[in-house]
């Protein structure tokens, strides 16, 4: 009587993909298994939008701050300049009289 063929060991890894091909057989440019497409978090756009909104607010605030600082700066520079010009003129006067008086004194 002929013996029945052996069924062999049961494959417990049934259903899983086993990569038995060597590098030369399979395409090395792909991992050999599927990499599925993934959706980002549904809140990701909300986060992006809030960032964009906060960026929109910043230039307005910065605009107000920069205008105020420019005005304060201009006023400050004006007063400093006026002060400097006044004191500069007075000191120049003194120098001029000094310089003119001494040579003439020497001539006489």
């Amino acid at each position: 009587m002929k013996k029945p063929a052996s069924i062999g060991p049961i494959d417990t890894n049934f259903g899983s993909v086993i990569d038995t091909k060597s590098m030369n057989e399979r395409d090395p440019l792909t991992p050999g298994v599927n990499i599925a497409r993934v959706s980002p978090s549904p809140y990701l756009f909300t986060r992006i939008q809030s960032k964009v909104d906060s960026m929109k607010d910043v230039p307005q605030q910065m605009g107000w701050v920069s205008w105020a600082s420019i005005v304060v700066g201009v006023v400050l520079i004006f007063f400093i300049e006026v002060n400097a010009v006044r004191s500069g003129f007075s000191s120049a006067k003194v120098d001029i009289t000094k310089n003119f008086s001494s040579p003439t004194e020497q001539l006489y």
């Binding site: 990569d19 990499i35 986060r47 992006i48 960032k51």
Partner: protein, 175 residues
């Protein structure tokens, strides 16, 4: 003026997936996606319309992903130096080398992780060609437009990448 929501709806998922193929971490990929769309919003006036909007956005996604990896590597080197100098391992930012890719089935994680490890050893442009053409399934013409190269150049990059990957594989097997 760019409609950010419509643009995100059209390209958001693709941008996220491009970043995910480079970074293999959901949080990092989301950070890069956010950065991409903020750049798109801020630099919309610089978009000249010579390329398609999608090509421009995908190019930004590739560049931002590569920048993120470079920053992470710098952090790793800096952190290593800091821990060496101070003799501590606390407060040192550790790079995320674990595969946190929801697109890869659990039973394939090890296999894909090894493949990504090999891909990481390739030159930047070869890696980009693989990500765009082989994983993200852009046509060679689309990938060429994103990479600002000719189709021939992209094909050549893929061929070189293939040769290099075989070499890397043989080297790792000790042959």
């Amino acid at each position: 003026m760019l409609d950010l929501e419509a643009t995100y709806k059209q390209f958001g998922e693709r941008v996220f997936n491009i970043a995910l193929q480079y970074l293999r971490n959901v949080e990092d990929a989301e950070e890069v996606t956010q950065d991409v769309f903020l750049t798109v919003y801020n630099k919309q006036s610089q978009f000249e319309g010579k390329a398609q909007l999608g090509t421009w956005i995908h190019r930004i996604a590739v560049n931002k992903s590569l920048d993120f990896i470079k920053a992470r590597n710098r952090q790793k080197r800096g952190g290593g130096l800091l821990s060496y100098l101070t003799g501590t391992t606390e407060n040192v930012a550790q790079p995320n080398n674990e595969l946190n890719h929801p697109g890869v089935a659990l039973e394939h994680r090890e296999l894909v992780s090894k493949w990504f490890h090999r891909i990481d050893q390739l030159a930047e442009n070869q890696r980009t060609a693989i990500v765009l053409v082989r994983i993200e399934e852009f046509s060679p013409a689309e990938a060429a437009a994103i990479m600002n190269l000719s189709v021939k150049a992209v094909d050549a990059l893929l061929q070189r990448a293939k040769k290099n990957l075989i070499k890397i594989e043989l080297k790792s097997e000790g042959k």
